[in-house]
Symmetry: C2
Subunit: 101 residues, 2 copies
DNA sequence: ATCAAATTTCGACGCATCTCGTAGGATGGG
DNA sequence: CCCATCCTACGAGATGCGTCGAAATTTGAT
């Protein structure tokens, strides 16, 4: 893959973001990334899924505008687009991350 | 139907709420209900769907814990569970409703 | 150049979901 | 009691989604 496509802030749509967050696996990824502001490789997470499934979820989050993904060596470093999401939907991310269940 | 089942506050799960909000039609319903604190019949909304499809969406929102539904005559009055959602996920509803797109 | 590690792509499989039409129940008015 | 209105239940069709395995790709190290 040459370049990873990310939506600009003004291209992010709330329905896509909500759909991206609605999956249990992706929600776990987002929670983990929220605790790693510097970014991290999602492949290091213990998610109980195969690598190909992880690729699918990371792409879903990226294309929805929830995370940034940049190559680093053979890995991909992901991190939350907290600034963009907070600007577009103030309180949404906070509310989701604060969820007791 | 005898009684409409609603999850108690502590039974509401974030994944269900996000899934319920992730559908365009349901998001429109939630936006409309947000402007009618006194509640309203969703059948009055111009959503471009059939009655049976509306029933499906209203049930999805109800079972996820997003709305209350109570019978009134031949209609069902729906209203947002804003207090419960704000208590569980402070900021989430605000962020969703503030969404420009 | 060769090899190993991380990730992606592709095809496929179930399962869920959104949609509708039709039929049926519940409520209120006459 | 009859009927109109609102909503629900059921079945069905089309689509979408999460998952996997196998093969291919990319990058860095030896």
């Amino acid at each position: 893959m040459t370049v990873l496509a990310h939506p600009a802030r003004d291209e992010i749509r709330i329905a896509d973001v909500l759909h991206a967050l609605a999956d249990p696996v992706r929600l776990r990824i987002v929670r983990e990334l929220a605790t790693h502001a510097e970014g991290m490789s999602c492949g290091l997470l213990e998610l109980g899924i195969t690598a190909s499934t992880l690729t699918h979820h990371v792409r879903t989050l990226r294309e929805a505008g929830v995370i940034w993904v940049r190559p680093k060596g053979t890995s991909r470093i992901s991190h939350l687009r907290r600034d963009d999401l907070d600007a577009l939907y103030p309180g949404l991310l906070t509310g989701v991350l604060a969820a007791p269940r």
